[in-house]
Amino acid sequence: MKQADPRTARVVIVGASAGGTSAAEALRARGHEGPIILIGSEQHAPYDRPPLSKQVLGSAPVDSATLALRGKDHLRDLGIEERYGVTADDLDLARRRVELSDGTAAEFDRLIIATGVAARKLPHAEGLAGVHTLRTIDDALKLRSALTEASRVVVIGGGFLGTEVAAAAAGQGAGVTIASSSRTLLQSAVGELIGQQVTDLHRGNRVRVRAGSEGRVRTLQSRGGRVSGVTFVSGAPEPADLVVVCIGSEPAVDWLRFSGLAVEDGVQCASDCSAAEGVYAVGDVATWHNPRFNMSMRVEHRTNATEQALHVAERIMAGDRTPYAPVPYFWSDQYDLKLQAHGYLRGHDEVHVAEGDLTSRRLIALYRRGPALTGVLAVGAAKALRQWRSRIESGMNWDDAIGLT
């Protein structure tokens, strides 16, 4: 179909978290004057998710207002139609409309898919009291209140979420065990070398870490409908009155099953983040080809949601197909240390520690993929980190990078 004038095009955005909200705002900032409909499945106005596993589980009082992504009337003042508490059920590409859970439909000239991910659940744990996942603010508030009463916490999964939850739980005074089937914590995210340092950091903070087969969960034990322990493939069972399941997430693409879009591991997009004519995906749900790293990626990091949304808003307004070629960024709070990384660390071929370690609270580690420097992770070295970022951006050769250390 012929595309409408981008300035007056009717834009439907499904997903009202960081990606969806930023896209709506960015369209207006770039002169879009037509209708923008922002659809969110949660009742809350857009709020920020990283604090859920960071501040919310701590001791300071937090609610959806403190986590709000934007001021109260900001989106309304921009003329954005906000529809919260409504789920998208189906996408009809031929008729250019999204079917909604309240029986209505939203018609569009341009569609931005920003439905994010849902927490992966443990099979057979459904309905068992004392078993939690963490993705939404409602999840976080429930978990926060459960933590105040828990004495034995088992966190299943040693990724970013699991390690941050464990650190927060330990801070609340509970006995905490992290169970990870990898050899170290954060292994797939940052590699074994740094992962081992993170493991030691947790052990130094009185968190028990079960790794490898000792950390591979067999089943949950329960008594009277309430979790009472966790058994493992090898090693003794752990008693538990609270289990937090942090075993990753699944792109929220169920509603797109019959749309004709390719949705294996997220919405499959071209390098400009388009999935079909006038249809785009941003944030955790989007898989696209990043030409800077010449690889397909789906990035579940907070800053990417905004960056990708800005890119898509620009493409819609410019009507071109400029590829999205970011250097991804993430941070993770581990106790009082902040891990920060630029680039793409997953699936790296080699890690080189350029400086320090976690114990000395200053660390710079470089990551290689193929012949190039593709990532850097640092603690307590913000300025050096930015220098390394620009070297990743310029596609620096690995040997040249090592020569600088």
Partner: protein, 65 residues
């Protein structure tokens, strides 16, 4: 142009220092925002606006256009 900083919300991502390096820097220890120039000149305006939009914690609020 003028802006306010909500320092306690800063997560140290450094997005501001990348977007507007003449106006923002970071504390080397934790990456928390450091303001180099509280009243940026008009030629920095676009960069500051960009930093405000990209900041993952909405730390930078533009107060005067």
């Amino acid at each position: 142009m003028k802006f306010d900083i909500e320092l306690d919300k800063c997560v140290g991502a450094g997005v501001c220092a990348i977007a507007a390096p003449k106006v923002f820097d970071q504390n080397d220890d934790d990456g928390i925002i450091v303001v180099l120039n509280p009243s940026p000149s008009p030629d920095q305006e676009a960069a500051v606006r960009d930093a405000a939009v990209r900041c993952p914690a909405a730390v930078i609020k533009l107060t005067e256009q």
